[in-house]
C-alpha cells in the first residue's frame, strides 16, 4: 500500500466506523448516504458466523467499510434506511485462505537448479491475472499463500495475495515468510545424503556462512546473495516442507536451533496415530497439503490424527497440479475422515493465515481485518452447502441472489 494512501484510509475508516455506530444506535447520517463510496459499504446480518478462530456468533451483525470489517456484534438492531443484507438461516465464515499454492507462479521461476535459493521471491513470479485465480475465487478462496515449490532446501520467500472481485489478485505481502524443504527431492542434485539429515547439513553450514563439503570433494558454489539472505535470518516464522515424521523432527530441530519458528507443510506420509503424536509433540503448527479423493485412507486421516494429538491443523491445496476447487473438497474429505467439525473452519481460515505469518488481518471476521467473508446455506465444511455470497476485500464477488435473478 502506498504511504500517501494511509491518512485518507484512516480517515475513511474512522468516518465509516462512526457511520456504522450511528446506524446501529439510530439515524442515518446524511453525509454517509451521499457519499458515492457508500455503495461499497455492506451491512450483513448472519444467522451463524464462524469467526474463524473457532468461535461462533449467532445472529451476527457485520459492518464492512473500505475493504475492512469495522464492526462485528451479536444481535443489535439496525434502523430503517440502512440497507442490510440478511441471511437469517445461513452460516458464514471468513473467506478461505489457501495457505500453500503455486497458482500463477511460473514453473521455471519456482524451480532453480541450486539447493539454496532463499532469495527467490514468489511474488516476483506471480501472475496476478492467472486464469486459475478466478476458479479459486469461485470456490470460496479469497486469500492465497504463494509458496515456492519444495525442490530446494531453502526455497525462497512466500507471498500473500488477496483475490479481487474480477478474479485477479493483489499482492498483500510481497516478501513473506521464508520457506525451506526437508524432503528428499530437495536434495536430489547434491553430493549429500538425500534425506532430512542432508538438508540439515546443508542448511547449518549455510547459516554459518559456508558451503558444506563432502570428503575429498570440492565445495559446491554458493551464491553470495543466497548466503546474505540466510545470514540475516535469525528469528521469525518460517514454513518447511516435509513429508514424513522423521523429516519433521529434523527440520524443527534445525530451524529452532537458529531461532526460527517453523510451521510444517505437507505431512502426507505420516503413518498412523503414533507418528502423528510424535509430530504433534514438536509443538509446531501443521499444514496438510494436497488431500484428494485418490489418497489412501491413511493419508486422508492425517489431519484428524494430528488434531487428535493436539496439533493445530490447516489444510491447503498445495500444488500447482491441483485444481483450485480442491481446497473445499480436501476440507470435506478431512471431515469425512475424522477431523472434528469444530476444527474445520479454522483449518482453512485462521490457522492457514497464521502459517503465512498473517494472523492479524486475515482468516478472521474481526474488527480491522480484511473483509473476506463467505455465506453458505449450510455448514462451510459440508460439500453440499451452497455459496450464497462471497465478499473479498470488502466487495461482493459473488451473489447467488443476483445470479438467480438473471
Amino acid at each position: 500500500m502506498p504511504r500517501a494512501d494511509v491518512p485518507r484510509r484512516a480517515g475513511r475508516l474512522l468516518r465509516a466506523t462512526f457511520a456504522a455506530a450511528c446506524a446501529l444506535v439510530g439515524g442515518v447520517p446524511a453525509a454517509h448516504a451521499d457519499d458515492p463510496a457508500a455503495s461499497a459499504d455492506l451491512v450483513l446480518r448472519l444467522g451463524t458466523l464462524h469467526v474463524g478462530d473457532g468461535d461462533v456468533v449467532n445472529d451476527a451483525l457485520v459492518v464492512i467499510d473500505d475493504g475492512r470489517v469495522v464492526a462485528v456484534q451479536a444481535g443489535g438492531t439496525v434502523p430503517e434506511g440502512v440497507r442490510v443484507r440478511t441471511f437469517a438461516r445461513a452460516v458464514a465464515c471468513p473467506g478461505f485462505v489457501d495457505a500453500v499454492t503455486q497458482y500463477g507462479l511460473d514453473d521455471g521461476a519456482a524451480e532453480r537448479p541450486d539447493t539454496l535459493t532463499p532469495d527467490v521471491r514468489a511474488a516476483d513470479a506471480f501472475d496476478v491475472r492467472a486464469p486459475e485465480l478466478r476458479a479459486a475465487l469461485d470456490a470460496g478462496t479469497t486469500t492465497l499463500g504463494l509458496v515456492p515449490a519444495p525442490w530446494n532446501v531453502a526455497c525462497g520467500r512466500a507471498a500473500t495475495a488477496g483475490l479481487r472481485t474480477d478474479g485477479s489478485a493483489e499482492v498483500l505481502e510481497r516478501v513473506g515468510v521464508p520457506v525451506f524443504a526437508f524432503r528428499a527431492p530437495a536434495l536430489r542434485r547434491d553430493r549429500v545424503p538425500a534425506t532430512a539429515a542432508g538438508a540439515r547439513l546443508v542448511l547449518e553450514a549455510a547459516f554459518e556462512g559456508r558451503a558444506w563439503t563432502t570428503s575429498g570433494e570440492g565445495a559446491a558454489p554458493l551464491r553470495a546473495e543466497a548466503l546474505a539472505e540466510l545470514a540475516q535470518l535469525r528469528s521469525g516464522a518460517v514454513l518447511v516442507h516435509v513429508d514424513r515424521a522423521e523429516e519433521a523432527r529434523v527440520a524443527v530441530e534445525t530451524l529452532r536451533a537458529r531461532g526460527l519458528a517453523p510451521t510444517l507443510v505437507g505431512l502426507r506420509q505420516i503413518a498412523g496415530p503414533d507418528e502423528a503424536r510424535a509430530v504433534a509433540a514438536l509443538g509446531v503448527p501443521c499444514v496438510v497439503t494436497e488431500l484428494g479423493p485418490e489418497d489412501s485412507l491413511a493419508t486422508l486421516a492425517v489431519p484428524a490424527e494430528l488434531r487428535a494429538a493436539g496439533a493445530t491443523v490447516a489444510l491447503a491445496s498445495g500444488a500447482p497440479a491441483q485444481s483450485p476447487r480442491t481446497l473445499r473438497l480436501a476440507l470435506a474429505l478431512a471431515v469425512a475422515n475424522g477431523l472434528p467439525a469444530a476444527d474445520a473452519v479454522p483449518a482453512v481460515t485462521s490457522h492457514a493465515a497464521a502459517a503465512l505469518g498473517a494472523s492479524k488481518g486475515l482468516g478472521r471476521v474481526a474488527v480491522g481485518a480484511r473483509a473476506d467473508l463467505l455465506v453458505f446455506d449450510g455448514a462451510p465444511w459440508e460439500p453440499a452447502s451452497r455459496l450464497l455470497l462471497t465478499v473479498t476485500g470488502g466487495h461482493v464477488a459473488f451473489d447467488a441472489a443476483r445470479k438467480d435473478a438473471q
Partner: protein, 486 residues
Amino acid sequence: MHDAAGAGRYAPGPVMRRPGLALALALAAFPAVARAEGDAPSPAGADGAVVALVGGEVRPVSGPVLPRGTVLLRGGRIAAVGADVAVPEGARVIDCAGAVVTPGLIDADCALGLTPWDAGAGVPGADARAIDAFDGWDERLGTALREGVTALVLGANREQVLGGVACVVPTGPPGAAPLASDAAVVLNVSTRGAGGGAPGAFRTATIRGALQAALDRRIEVERWRRDLAEYEDERLAVEPTLEERLLLSPELLARMRLWTPAERAAWREATYKSMGREKAYTKPKNPATPPRAPGDDPNLDALRDALGDGATPAARRTLLRAELEGDVDAALRIAADFALTPVVAGGEGLRRRTAELARAHARVVLTHLGDTSASTTSAVARRSPGLAAALAAARLRPALGTGGVGAARWLRLFAAREIAEGLPRDAALAAVTLWAAESAGVEAQMGSLDAGKRGDVVVWSGDPFGATSRALHVFVEGAEVDVAAR
C-alpha cells in the same frame, strides 16, 4: 449371451433343429451360462433370511420420500417398501429412526478394480473387455462399499478410440459375479480431457471406419456361419444321427461306419420307410471342403460381437466419451448413423448440447468428477460449475461418474458438490443411483428401492451427502457388510 454359451462352436442353427441334441447342448451349456451371468457365489442374504429396516427416512428414488418407512429385504432382494409394511415374524429388525435409507450408490463411470493395462502387452482396443480386467478381490472395493457404493460401471479403456466393452460389477462380496458383463460398447470420441490423443476428426473417422468394418464383418461372418452350417448339415447326414445313435446297437453303429455313403443312404431309406416316416432325407451335395473362415481380427470381432446381431438391442448400448461440444456432435452423428443407443459421457460439451442430446434420447454421464487436475490442457479443469444442475434441468437424467479409482468411494461427496452448485437433492440421489443404473441398462435390477430389485441398500447416519454422515448399515443382495472393518 451367445459368446458365453455357444462361443466359438459353429453352426448353432441346424444343430438346434435336432431336438435331442439341442437338449444335450443346452444342458452342457447351462453351467457356463450360470457362471457367466448367474448369482454365484451365493450371497449370504439369499438364504431366505428377512431383514426389516424400520422407522428411517426412506428415499426410494423411484417414488416420494417416506418420512418413516420400512424396507423389507428377503432372499437377497427388496421384498417391500412402504409406510405400513408388516414385518414378518422372525425377521431381523433394524431400528433406523433418525437415519436415512437409500439404494446403494452406483458410480456411473470409474476404474476401481480394473487391473491397469500392461503397456508391454500391446495396445488394447475393442477386444478390451472391462470384465476381463476386473479384479473382484481388489481391497479398495471394500472401502467403496463401506462408503455406500454398491456397484460400479467400469468403462474399459479410455486411451484408444475403440474402448472395449464396459461392465457393471458389485463392490462386494469379494469375487462376486458381475451384474452385467456387456453393459455397453465404449467409443472414445474424445480421449480423456482435451489434451492428448489424435485430433477429433481423425478419431471420428477411425470410429466410423471400425464400426463399418465390424458390421461388414458381421455380414461376412454370418455368411460363413451359414455356409459352414450347410456343410455340417450335409456332413452329418452321412454320419449317424443322434436318433440313430440312440436307436441302434453299438455293434450296428460300428459296422455302419464302414459302409459307403451310398450303402448307408440305402439302409436309412429302408429303415425310415419301415418306421412309417415321411423321409426328410435329401441327398447330400457333398461339398469337398469346409468353407474358409474369415481371417483373424480380434479387434473387429470383438467390436462385432459387442454390437450384437440386432436381436439384443441392449448390446448396442454404446458409451461415447465426448468432452467438448464438437465431440458430442460427432458422438450423436455416429450413434444415429449406426443405430446405436447412445450414452454420452463427458462434461462441458454436454451442457452446450442439451437439446441435441434430448432429441437423440441419449443418456448422459457427467464423468471425471474425481479429477482434481488443474492442468490447463485438461478439459476437466476448464469445466464451469453447475454442470449436473444444467443437465438435470434439461431433463437429461445425468448419471455421475468419478472416473477415478480411490475417488469412487467418495461418490457421495462429488454428488454433494453438485448440490452446492445447484443440483436439487433428489436429483443428486437419482444421479448416483437410478440414473446411473439406467445409463448402464441395469435399472431393472437396481438403482431404486422397489420390490424385486437387488437388496443393495444403505442406512446413513444422516444426510447421505453430508461429510459428517456415515454409512451405518450397508446391504449387498440383502446381506449386511461389516462397515466397521477398515
